[in-house]
């Protein structure tokens, strides 16, 4: 029950994009069409969940016993980059159908700051491996929800008549701002 609450709070209350500002590049750059953002969110869910589990395991079994915790930034970024590469190769070999729908999005996530951000905040909050994995999964769900919502709103409001200076970037940022206000409401739920 505690873990379920953690996942819900990671997905909705502390939404990774709308209240922690992680992973904004793909949030803005891959949200023009719903189709593409579906593939992107699938890949993000897989990578963040796996990366949180593995980084947390490395932290608890290797870095912490050897008193090397100050190396966590360097170790995590390398682990994430190689994990993504490895995953892409593995999926390509083992399941071509899955690769078709999800694998093509994997390289995009190598430098996504949400992945490193979740791994680091798991360590900062002293979560054990299980809790980290659940937290990662919830966070990734929150990312998927936010990018799908933004993509749908952008598809609908693409041809709206907005003032000339607000066209493009300001328009999308204001949309994200209003979504962020809406997500503030979840704080009352838990």
């Amino acid at each position: 029950m505690k873990l379920l609450l953690l996942a819900i709070s990671a997905a909705l209350v502390n939404n990774v994009v709308l209240s922690q500002f992680l992973g904004l590049c793909p949030f803005l750059g891959v949200s023009k069409k719903i189709n593409t953002s579906v593939g992107m969110s699938g890949a993000v869910i897989v990578v963040i969940t796996a990366a949180s589990a593995i980084c947390s395991a490395i932290y608890h079994f290797i870095l912490s016993p050897l008193n090397l915790t100050y190396l966590n930034t360097i170790v995590f970024i390398l682990v994430i980059a190689s994990l993504v590469q490895f995953m892409e190769m593995f999926i390509k070999k083992s399941n071509p159908a899955l690769y078709q729908s999800l694998g093509v999005f994997l390289p995009l996530i190598t430098t996504n700051c949400a992945v490193l951000g979740v791994a680091l905040s798991n360590v900062q909050k002293d979560y054990d491996i299980w809790t980290s994995t659940i937290n990662g999964f919830g966070t990734a769900l929150g990312f998927a929800l936010a990018i799908l919502l933004l993509a749908s709103i952008r598809e609908k409001s693409e041809d709206n008549d907005v003032p000339k200076s607000f066209k493009g970037m300001p328009h999308v940022l204001l949309t994200a701002g209003l979504m962020s206000i809406a997500f503030f409401g979840w704080a009352g739920v838990l």
Partner: protein, 281 residues
């Protein structure tokens, strides 16, 4: 000498990483709750950027091309770890208020972008000044955002919690605290970019566009393009091809389904007509 000024101008004004290129959005929005935090984040990034440009420019002839990205990442990550210790030791308050965004400087695409686009191809001195210019441009954008958000959301300028340089009395202005919360970041940045668009329009420049990584041009504009090897346009192409296949398959099925319909309609229609005729007869 002219090269140095050109680099500084390029970083601060012409290709300002935040306001013109819209790169490095995560720290821009996350830490600009006050002027101090914005400047602190900007200066930390500046320090990392100058050092990484320095080291990468020095090593540009030694790093093999195939492993350059991992090499850059290791260099940047080590520098960030050093900056983290420096901040923790000398300005612990700033360190705790910037929190997780200090280690996340590693994945700030401005740094890897400059390493890839400039420092790996140019000599030492221009590379250092490229780092200073870009870092100052980033700091300036963060300072503008931090100043506006602190002023509107808290009614202060340069506040450190207890004291403030300027404080607007509450009788005159009630702070709109949403501006220092998460939604305020998006809203203030939207208005700053809209103002920039207005200025650019006067000078006949193109307004800021939303980066669209799913097109080839948009992907090339992203500093991290070399890292993902243009994955987004490929993914988009792929999605489109699946869609086109599904549509053509659906179209074929529709033809099959629709084809018998007119026949049945035609077959049915004459029957009542015939019967009608027969009745009349």
């Amino acid at each position: 000498m002219s090269k140095i000024f050109e680099r500084l101008y390029n970083g601060i004004i012409k290709e300002n990483p935040t306001l013109i290129m819209t790169l490095g959005m995560c720290p821009t929005l996350a830490v600009t709750t006050s002027l101090i935090n914005g400047v602190g984040m900007g200066m930390s990034t500046l320090a990392v950027l100058v050092c990484s440009n320095f080291i990468i420019s020095l090593l540009r002839k030694f790093i093999p091309d195939t492993v350059r990205i991992p090499a850059y990442i290791v260099i940047v990550a080590s520098l960030v770890t050093i900056i983290q210790f420096v901040l923790q030791g000398f300005v612990p308050e700033l360190y705790s208020s910037l929190g997780i965004y200090i280690p996340l400087i590693v994945v700030n695409c401005i740094i890897l972008g400059r390493a890839e686009a400039y420092a790996s191809k140019n000599k030492l001195i221009p590379s250092i000044f490229d780092g200073i210019g870009m870092g100052l441009g980033f700091t300036m954008a963060l300072a503008i955002l931090g100043f506006l958000r602190e002023l509107i959301g808290n009614g202060t300028i340069l506040s450190d919690g207890a004291k403030a340089l300027v404080k607007i009395p509450e009788e005159i202005y009630t702070p709109a605290s949403i501006m220092i919360l998460a939604p305020g970041a998006f809203i203030v940045l939207a208005f700053v970019i809209a103002a920039m668009n207005k200025i650019k329009e006067k000078h006949g420049m193109k307004p800021a566009e939303v980066p669209d990584y799913t097109t080839k041009e948009g992907c090339a504009g992203c500093a991290a393009a070399s890292l993902c090897a243009g994955a987004a346009p490929k993914a988009e192409e792929h999605v489109n091809s699946i869609k086109a296949k599904a549509e053509s398959a659906a179209a074929k099925e529709n033809v099959k389904v629709e084809a018998p319909k007119p026949e049945t309609v035609q077959a049915k229609e004459p029957v009542p007509a015939d019967t009608g005729k027969e009745d009349k007869e």
